[in-house]
C-alpha cells in the first residue's frame, strides 16, 4: 500500500487509497480524476465488472476495491 487510508476512501488497483466525498462520489468522476476515462479501459468494483453505461451512475462506497484495467501488448 502506498498511503494510509483516509476515513472515507476507495482502494484503487490494490495500491492507492483515494478519498471520496461530495466532489468525488461517482465512478466516472474517479476515472476522470485519474485520467483513465479512455477507450480500452475496463473497471471492476469488488471484482464485479461495471459496464461503461453504468459508470456515471455508479456510487463509490467507503472501502470499495476499484480495479482499472487497460489493454497492453501480449501474445
Amino acid at each position: 500500500m502506498n498511503n494510509d487510508k483516509p476515513e472515507n476512501a476507495v482502494l484503487v488497483n490494490q495500491e492507492n487509497w483515494i478519498e471520496i466525498g461530495e466532489q468525488l462520489s461517482k465512478l466516472d468522476q474517479l476515472l476522470t480524476s485519474l485520467n483513465c476515462l479512455n477507450d480500452g479501459v475496463a473497471v471492476a468494483i469488488n471484482n464485479q465488472v461495471v459496464t461503461k453505461d453504468k459508470w456515471s451512475a455508479q456510487v463509490l462506497n467507503n472501502n470499495d476495491k476499484i480495479s482499472i484495467f487497460g489493454a497492453i501488448a501480449g501474445g
Binding site: 484503487v12 488497483n13 490494490q14 492507492n16 485519474l34 485520467n35 483513465c36 477507450d39 480500452g40 479501459v41 475496463a42 473497471v43 471492476a44 471484482n47 465488472v49 459496464t51 461503461k52 480495479s67 482499472i68 484495467f69 487497460g70 489493454a71 497492453i72 501488448a73 501480449g74 501474445g75
Partner: protein, 256 residues
C-alpha cells in the same frame, strides 16, 4: 482463388495470426504486423498504472483494421479467466477471447480442466472462445462440444521457438476437428509455420519468433510467405512418402 478462413462467421484472408507482445517498441510492432498481413492480433489486459503513462497500442491496431483477440493471460483458474474475459469484452468491445489458463510459470502449460470449465461458461455467455490448449485430441473435442469457435493447440511451450514438438497429436486434432485448428505457441521459424499449414492446420499464431528477431519486419514477411506456401501445398496435395526410390527420369535403354 479465394481461400478464406471462417471463424464464427468472420472471414480472414490471412491465415497468420499474430501476437503483439515482446516487440522492442510500438512502431516496430506495427510495422511487423502490417508486414505479416495478419488480420487477427492478440492483446492482454493489465491493471493500469494510474500514475504512469501507458503506451497506446490499441489505436494503431484498429486504424489498420486488425481484429482484436484479447487473451486471459495471468488467469490461473477458470474463475480468473471468466473475470478476465468479461473485462476484455468491456475494455475492447469484442466478445472474442483467447482463453488461456496457465498456472505454472516455468512451462506455461495450459490447465486442461480449468480451461474446459471456463470455456463452458464463456460459450454460454455468448463469447467466441478460442482456447489455448495442449495438443490433446480428447480435450480439443470436448471444447468443440461445449461450443468453442476454434481450438489453439500448442506446438511447443510458449516462447520456446522449438517448433512442432507435438506434431503427431496435432495431426490427430486436425483430422478430427470440426472447428478451425490454429497452431499456437512454439512456432520459432517460418519452416515450422509452413509445416503446420502443410499438415492441414487452418491457421497459426506467431509472436515471439517475429518479435525477438533482429529484423522483426523481414521475419514477419518471411512468416507470411511460409504460411501461404504451406497452405497452398496443403490444398495442392503433397506426394506420398515412400521407403524406396521411385525414379523421376526414365531408366530405359540409355546404357544398354
Amino acid at each position: 482463388m479465394s481461400d478464406l478462413l471462417t471463424i464464427a462467421g468472420h472471414q480472414f484472408s490471412s491465415r497468420l495470426f499474430t501476437g503483439t507482445g515482446k516487440f522492442c517498441d510500438k512502431d516496430t510492432m506495427m510495422a511487423a504486423l502490417v508486414a505479416s498481413k495478419s488480420q487477427l492480433v492478440t492483446m492482454a489486459l493489465k491493471r493500469i498504472d494510474t500514475k504512469g503513462q501507458s503506451d497506446d497500442i490499441l489505436a494503431p491496431l484498429l486504424a489498420n483494421n486488425m481484429k482484436l483477440l484479447p487473451n486471459t493471460s495471468g488467469a490461473k483458474t477458470a474463475e480468473d479467466a471468466i473475470f478476465a474475459a468479461r473485462l476484455t469484452r468491456e475494455a475492447l468491445g469484442t466478445n472474442w477471447v483467447k482463453l488461456e489458463i496457465h498456472p505454472d510459470p516455468k512451462y506455461l502449460m495450459p490447465d486442461a480442466i480449468e480451461t474446459l470449465k471456463a470455456a463452458e461458461v464463456l460459450c454460454k455467455e455468448g463469447f467466441i472462445v478460442l482456447p489455448y490448449i495442449h495438443a490433446d485430441p480428447v480435450l480439443a473435442k470436448r471444447l468443440e462440444q461445449v461450443g468453442c469457435a476454434a481450438v489453439m493447440p500448442l506446438g511447443a511451450p510458449i516462447g520456446s521457438n522449438k517448433g512442432l514438438v507435438s506434431r503427431d497429436f496435432l495431426e490427430i486434432i486436425i483430422e478430427q476437428a470440426n472447428v478451425p485448428v490454429i497452431v499456437d505457441a512454439g512456432i520459432g521459424a517460418p519452416s515450422h509455420a509452413a509445416l503446420a499449414m502443410e499438415m492441414g492446420a487452418d491457421a497459426v499464431l506467431v509472436n515471439t519468433a517475429m518479435a525477438v528477431s533482429p529484423d522483426p519486419v523481414a521475419m514477419s514477411k518471411a512468416f507470411a510467405m511460409a504460411v501461404e506456401a504451406g497452405r497452398n501445398a496443403y490444398i495442392a496435395g503433397l506426394g506420398q512418402v515412400n521407403d524406396n526410390a521411385i525414379a523421376t527420369s526414365p531408366l530405359t535403354a540409355f546404357l544398354d
